[in-house]
């Protein structure tokens, strides 16, 4: 009796819980009377509400103007970027929007907003630690044991990059076939932490973004040090997927879609890091008679 009461109450609660869920699903956005109830409409894109995009130089850096309004971040701060090239690239992003503003294609704007607002409220140390944490589970340090051809492919493609990184930073990284991953010595982490500490906050936000896209710290270092192009880094990051594609065939709406998105995000992050960390010095050559 006592038990059945419990069960009843439980069942009742489950019913209660389900009711509001069902209701919200039925009044979701984008449901028109003629469309079937299952149809899911993607979140609406905003209409392009401006004609001209221009850049002005303010006190804090370069600002973007949409017609005569100043661009602001989601937290309503003034949108200012430190470098002219970055401002031009962001302005080009806004100018290239046709009819509707597609925020999911504006990676540089997104990165600038993240740096300006810092929505996760992390300081420099936390950011660096979050970045270096990826080294423990670095994609290119995890190896498979079979099939034979993939083992060889990973060895041929990934080993040179690890060797390069070990030599460039004077550290030990290594690779492993165990599920626990490679055991990276503490010394390596120290070296990389102190290396990353030489970057400013903006560049670090970009670095963390790229690391999170490629799932690899080593490949990101390769991009920052101009050792790899974006296309190469993305290929190396997706090595197993490429292997499977060669074996089983390519699916345009899954593989190509992901490839292009990953490339776009990685390129945006890499460009962001380079533009935010550089200091331009112009040296004129002496004219010789």
């Amino acid at each position: 009796m006592w038990r059945s009461c419990l069960r009843l109450r439980d069942g009742g609660r489950r019913l209660l819980n389900r009711a509001p869920g069902g209701r919200t699903a039925s009044v979701g956005p984008g449901l028109s009377p003629q469309s079937p109830a299952r149809a899911y409409a993607p979140p609406t894109e905003r209409k392009r509400f401006y004609q001209n995009v221009s850049i002005t130089q303010g006190e804090g850096g370069f600002e973007i103007n949409l017609d005569h309004r100043k661009l602001k971040t989601p937290q309503a701060k003034l949108f200012t970027v430190p470098s002219e090239a970055l401002a031009i690239a962001v302005a080009t992003e806004w100018d290239s929007q046709q009819d509707t503003i597609k925020f999911y294609t504006m990676h540089l704007t997104t990165l600038c907003n993240t740096s300006l607002d810092n929505p996760t409220q992390r300081n420099k140390d936390q950011l660096i630690r979050a970045t270096v944490k990826f080294l423990d589970t670095d994609t290119i340090c995890y190896r498979v044991e079979e099939p034979e051809t993939l083992v060889e492919l990973q060895k041929n493609e990934w080993d040179p990059i690890i060797e390069w990184a070990e030599k460039r930073y004077g550290v030990e990284i290594g690779s492993s076939t165990s599920i626990m991953g490679p055991s990276v010595p503490a010394k390596t982490r120290e070296v990389l932490v102190s290396h990353l500490a030489s970057y400013n906050m903006w560049a670090l936000q970009g670095i963390e973004f790229v690391v999170a896209q490629l799932k690899s710290m080593v490949l990101t270092l390769g991009l920052i040090d101009l050792r790899l192009t974006v296309e190469q880094a993305v290929l190396l990051s997706r090595l197993e997927e490429e292997y499977q594609i060669q074996k089983w065939g390519n699916i345009e709406w899954a593989h190509d879609y992901e490839l292009q998105e990953l490339r776009a995000r990685t390129a945006a992050g890499t460009l962001f890091v380079h533009l935010c960390s550089e200091s331009t010095t112009v040296k004129h050559k002496l004219l010789q008679e």
Partner: protein, 113 residues
């Protein structure tokens, strides 16, 4: 050092992407700030007598990265509109994607109103 090919090739690729970008607004791409900046940057770093000029390589790397960004976004948007932009597909469309057709019954299935 990453192999990048010739700078002229990268420059031409960038101009092509700028043309695509500005097809959206209908204005000639030569009027844009991006075009002026790129031309200026490529001109300024064109001549150097050093065998391996780091600054030039860096600029070329950035240009190639930007080219990759513009090209990937364009192709990503095209794929998105083709496959993901319209919400859920109908049963007929889904079958068509993998080269199948729904069975056709001349007299109807019997349970439609």
């Amino acid at each position: 050092m990453a192999a990048l090919g010739s700078p002229a090739r990268t420059f031409r690729g960038l101009l092509r992407e700028l043309r695509y970008v500005n097809a959206a607004t209908g204005r000639p791409y030569r009027d844009t700030a991006a075009y002026r900046y790129l031309v200026k940057a490529f001109r300024a770093h064109r001549v150097t007598s050093e065998k391996l000029c780091r600054a030039q390589h860096e600029l070329h790397f950035q240009a190639a990265t930007y080219l990759c960004l513009l090209r990937s976004i364009r192709e990503h948007v095209a794929l998105h509109q083709e496959f993901h932009g319209k919400g859920e597909r109908s049963v007929e469309e889904s079958a068509g994607l993998v080269g199948l057709k729904l069975p056709h019954q001349p007299g109807g299935k019997g349970w439609e109103p």
